[in-house]
């Protein structure tokens, strides 16, 4: 379980996170929803210790993040995290070199699933393909938790479908996933939990299925309540 507890962060005089708290369970897909600037990316970076926060605590399976945690949790940001002059094959080599959790077989599987070519240079890839490689590099790690930042933004419709298919596949099974988006439509049917964020804090944390069954509302309905009032 990833626990975000009362996290505060100020950046350039702006309170980016104020008392942010939520949890994300293993085996569930948790979606952080909010408009741009709500603090979604910041909280992901905070979980990964890629940006400092001022107060509060973030625990991964009950422990603060340390170097070994990177074999258990990975983050797929909205940009490529490999050297652009590398080929896909070289990227694989790099990952295999540094991560015990790297699963070469799964990487190859994903490669054919996404219809990518090993010898292509990263810098020559289209935006959609680059996003796929990015996703691939994260998914091919045998980790318990995957954090994805806007995996669908700025990507063509066919790539979107391919990526969305990943979420229903065995690739995600039993893992804990945190995903951010500012547009829920594509993935509403996929997610287990929605965390509505606004102005640096959690406005609503809900179990999607429960809400649907108990109150008969969709995520969008709740969003309308929360954001429009």
């Amino acid at each position: 379980m990833i626990e975000v507890k009362n996290v505060y962060k100020k950046y350039k005089k702006k309170q980016v996170l104020k008392d942010m708290s939520f949890t994300a369970e293993k085996g569930q897909i948790t979606c952080l929803i909010g408009i741009n600037g709500a603090g979604k990316t910041t909280i992901m970076k905070s979980i990964m210790a890629l940006t400092p926060f001022d107060r509060g605590e973030i625990l991964i399976d009950g422990k603060k993040i340390n170097k070994d945690a990177y074999e258990k949790i990975t983050y797929i940001p909205d940009r490529l995290t490999m050297l652009p002059n590398y080929t896909i094959a070289e990227s694989f080599e790099f990952m295999a070199d540094f991560y015990k959790a790297w699963n070469e077989q799964r990487a190859t599987e994903l490669l054919s699933f996404f219809k990518l070519n090993q010898q292509d240079k990263l810098s020559s890839l289209s935006k959609g393909n680059a996003a796929k490689v990015n996703l691939l590099l994260g998914l091919a790690l045998d980790v318990d938790y995957i954090l994805m930042d806007e995996p669908f933004s700025g990507i063509d419709i066919f790539s979107r479908e391919q990526i969305a298919n990943v979420f229903t596949s065995h690739l995600i099974e039993n893992r804990g996933v945190i995903i951010t988006t500012h547009e829920i439509n594509d993935i509403e049917h996929l997610i287990d939990k929605a965390v509505l964020i606004g102005d640096g804090k959690v406005l609503r944390e809900m179990n999607v299925e429960e809400i649907r069954e108990m109150e008969g509302k969709s995520v969008v309905d709740v969003m309308r309540e929360v954001y429009v009032g």
Partner: protein, 274 residues
């Protein structure tokens, strides 16, 4: 440790093409310099000898023979050294900023490696040191090559031969190659300390942005002052002997290096911002 070597190797491979280009450029310029200074000298000798009807020995007596300083003080040699030094100084900064800037954000990957983050810092520091020392090593071979070229062009009578120890005891060469191996280690240890201080200042900037530039600048000034304490003491009191100044500077450098490493470790772990 293993992760550290992997990262060093990674940093070396990343710069290797540019570094090879740099070595080739320096080599070409110095070899051209060897030919040019020798040919120019011979041309001058021949015209002067013809004009004034001098023999070779008379020419040497009057105008002096060719010595290695003719090459060392030539623009070819000086510019090649300055050029190589400039590239490496720029790379001290670029080795960090290239991970943040540009299309990809490789720093995300580096910071998410399952290894202590200080290894990234050590690896970059080691890589810079290796590049510097490699150029320093290549220059030794180049001096040999240049001497052979000069020997091939200028006849013995018009040339003074100087021992290796002597050639290396002046100007740039005496700075790059101190007299004893111990001093060599101390000099490049000091160099590594200065690079480490700059690295830590870069991390200040990467952690605190605008405020970090100020912090980094103050940090650099304080570090240099600390390293220079023995020299400052000597300047005021004249109290120390040279070997004591060198020894104390080694101590203040190690102290400064320790602080740089500690701060870098702290910043990378707690304050870094991608």
């Amino acid at each position: 440790m293993n992760e550290y070597f992997k990262l060093v190797n990674f940093e070396v491979r990343r710069f290797s093409k540019l570094f090879l280009t740099l070595i080739v450029a320096v080599t070409v310029v110095q070899i051209i310099g060897a030919f040019m200074t020798s040919f120019n000298f011979m041309e001058r000798v021949e015209t002067t000898m013809a004009q004034k009807q001098l023999g070779e020995s008379e020419y040497v007596l009057e105008y002096g023979a060719y010595n290695f300083q003719n090459f060392i003080f030539s623009e070819y040699f000086i510019l090649s050294i300055v050029f190589a030094a400039t590239i490496l100084v720029i790379y001290v900064f670029f080795i960090w900023y290239r991970d943040w800037l540009g299309k990809s954000s490789f720093i995300y990957r580096l910071l998410m490696l399952p290894t202590a983050r200080r290894n990234i810092y050590f690896a970059k520091l080691t890589a810079i040191l290796l590049f510097v020392l490699c150029l320093v090593g290549v220059q030794i071979a180049l001096i040999e090559v240049v001497q052979q070229i000069i020997h091939g062009i200028i006849p013995d009578q018009l040339r003074v031969d100087q021992s290796k120890a002597y050639i290396y005891s002046f100007d740039v060469l005496s700075f790059l190659y101190p007299k004893t191996p111990l001093l060599f280690i101390l000099l490049y240890g000091l160099g590594a300390t200065v690079v480490a201080v700059v690295f830590t200042a870069i991390l200040f900037e990467r952690s605190y942005h605008l405020k970090g530039i100020l912090l980094g600048a103050i940090y650099i000034i304080i570090s240099i002052l600390v390293i220079a304490i023995p020299v400052i003491i000597q300047d005021i009191t004249g109290y120390l002997y040279l070997n004591e100044i060198i020894g104390l500077t080694a101590v203040t450098s190690i102290l400064t290096l320790g602080v740089a490493l500690y701060l870098a470790d702290y910043l990378l772990k707690r304050k870094i911002n991608v």
